[in-house]
Amino acid sequence: MAKTTQRAATSGSLVSLAWRNLWANRRRTLITLSSIVFGVFFAILMTALQDRNWADMIDLAAKMGGGHVTLQHPEYQDAPTLRHSVQEVSELAAAVEGAVPIDAVRPRIVGNLMLSTAHESFGAGFIAYDPALETSETLAILNGVAEDEGLRPDDRQGILLGTKLAYNLDAEVGDKVVYTVTDRNGEITSALCRVRGLVTTGAPSVDASLVLLPIEPLREVIGYGPDEANQVAIFLSDQRSTERAVSALVSALRDDVAVLGWNKAQPELAGFIAAKVGGAWVVEGLIGILVAAGIFNTLFVSVMERMREFGIMLAIGWSPGRLFRLVMLESLWLGVVGLILAGLVTVGPYLYLEKTGIDISKMLTDESMEIAGVAMAPVLKVGIFPMSLVIILGAAMFAVLASGIYPAWRAGRINPVETIRLV
């Protein structure tokens, strides 16, 4: 022990002394490292699962709904009728493109209608889109349409029905259905369609109440102009920039359109995600405290145990500050080694989960999973945002260092005479 101290004193390298001290009691260090590794491993995987799935779900929700950011008539939110429309959509789209980095801008008309066949009539919601412009990349519901079905740009009579809705209406592909809709002037008007395909999203509430229409013929039926819509869906390059995009668009666009982020347009989903993320942070926080308590425990005991040693060091002229730095450096080493080990342990499972994922479809029975109208993917995969990783690693390092402060401070406050006498 004395030799160690002496060598350290001569070399003056606190860093390497701290490193050696760490391994003087290997068992203790391994125990501490294991809890760091465990904590970081768990935090990374859990956060990666969340980041990936919530990001996927937000993108999916954007594709199922009105994009990451929606432009609409300022009164549409309170009174969602066809009367509250947006004019000169193409001019608006150009302005959007100039203001924020986007993937796509898509004009749509959404609303409610009544569908009738010779046998039955049912109410349904509709999304009218431009079949020449949109694919499942921006309108996820199109994923639920069979390859050979779907709307063609030149087909003015096409309609796609939710599977369950078609069943309820007793309609098959090729059959005629008549829809009745209250137009922009409040008049009730009807038009004939032919069922060109069925939509199966897996979300029961969607399959029983959704129809897709081509936007151009609908415009004529409800009295819209050729450049008019009641929803402009904007798809951002990165959903995390939604807030920024919303404020950029608010200042860039005309006053007669309202700009709505997905979190405002789909508060249920936003709330659900926030609740899940918040709940996970509570658990991660609790575990963080447990891990920190363990580290504190080891560091403190290790300081107490080495009181004699520290007393001698003080006696031979070490300053309390230097001792403090030594112990803090030991914590730092612990943190560094812990994080490196955690990285080594985590990388395998992470890559596996990123590529292959966990199939949770076995946990589901016959019906599919749906959260606030968004169907959930049956395979859970992970993918962490770099920012989240930085936060976790930073928090872990902080926990390790913070746990070391009190023991380090105690080490400097030892009374050399007393401690040397101590057995």
Binding site: N112, T117, G123, V178, Y179, T182
Partner: protein, 258 residues
């Protein structure tokens, strides 16, 4: 719910009176021209005239049987008013139709409710007709491609059958509508409504031809849904006047309350 395309039930009489004047079918040089004439008569029943009358509607379903007596007014094709006289419980209940909008007045709660789009498919007064049936407006002469059933053209056959297929762009749920006309009177006796797969969905019968308001018309109309054993909605006219002067003010929300 059954569908009846033109405004048949409530304005049946207007319809009959103009279209089916008691005139023998005259031989026309061209089949097409004759068809157009017949369909034109059919369609023109719906327009121009005004009427006022009383009628009885009997609805029989598996669940209930009810009889309502009502007073009716109509002007042109798009204005009409029906007010229930009996039973006492429903007395004063009224339906106003102007264009494609429908309002119901409910005396019990003293309120007028506009029928929303979502309720257009619902039954009207418990009958086999929907609110949508009341407002639907089609013209057979323009919206349908019609043809005579050649077999019924034989002089020995009393009734002429016309099969009408809706044109591609017309908002009609039927796949086909067929009608039987009595050659002697040129009055319809029956019409049949089919779905896309040529399956019969509903039959309308026109019976009891009498002179009313100066015209010979079938005074009893019965709608029979296919496949619903014993169910029907029957409308019987007991009194009817035509081409009388009715103020437009009658067809307003104020007068709906009476």
């Amino acid at each position: 719910m059954l569908k009846q395309s033109p405004w048949i039930v409530l304005l049946a009489i207007v319809w009959m009176s103009v279209a089916m004047s008691p005139r023998a079918l005259a031989r026309q040089p061209s089949e097409d021209a004759e068809m157009q004439r017949l369909l034109g008569l059919f369609d023109d029943l719906l327009r121009g005239a005004s009427s006022q009358g009383t009628m009885t509607m009997t609805v029989k379903t598996k669940r209930f049987e009810r009889t309502l007596s009502m007073q009716t007014w109509s002007k042109g094709t798009d204005k009409s008013l029906v007010r229930i006289l009996e039973p006492v419980k429903e007395k004063g209940t009224a339906t106003l139709k102007v264009g494609d909008k429908i309002w119901n007045y409910l005396p019990k709660v003293d309120r007028t409710i506009k029928v929303p789009g979502s309720m257009m498919g619902a039954s009207w007064m418990g009958s086999h007709f929907t609110n949508d049936d009341l407002v639907a407006k089609i013209r057979y002469s323009e919206d349908f491609a019609c043809s005579f059933d050649p077999a019924t053209r034989e002089p020995s056959v009393k009734e002429l059958r016309i099969d009408c297929i809706p044109n591609e762009d017309v908002a009609v749920v039927w796949g086909k509508v067929s009608m039987l006309l009595d050659k002697a009177s040129e009055l319809p006796t029956q019409s049949m409504f089919y779905d896309d797969d040529d399956e019969l969905v509903r039959t309308m019968k026109y019976e009891n031809v009498r002179t009313m308001g100066g015209k010979r018309i079938p005074t009893v109309l019965t709608a029979i849904p296919a496949g619903e054993d014993g169910e029907f909605t029957r409308v019987e006219h007991s009194k009817l006047e035509f081409d009388i002067d009715i103020s437009d003010r009658l067809f307003s929300l104020q007068s709906l309350k009476q």
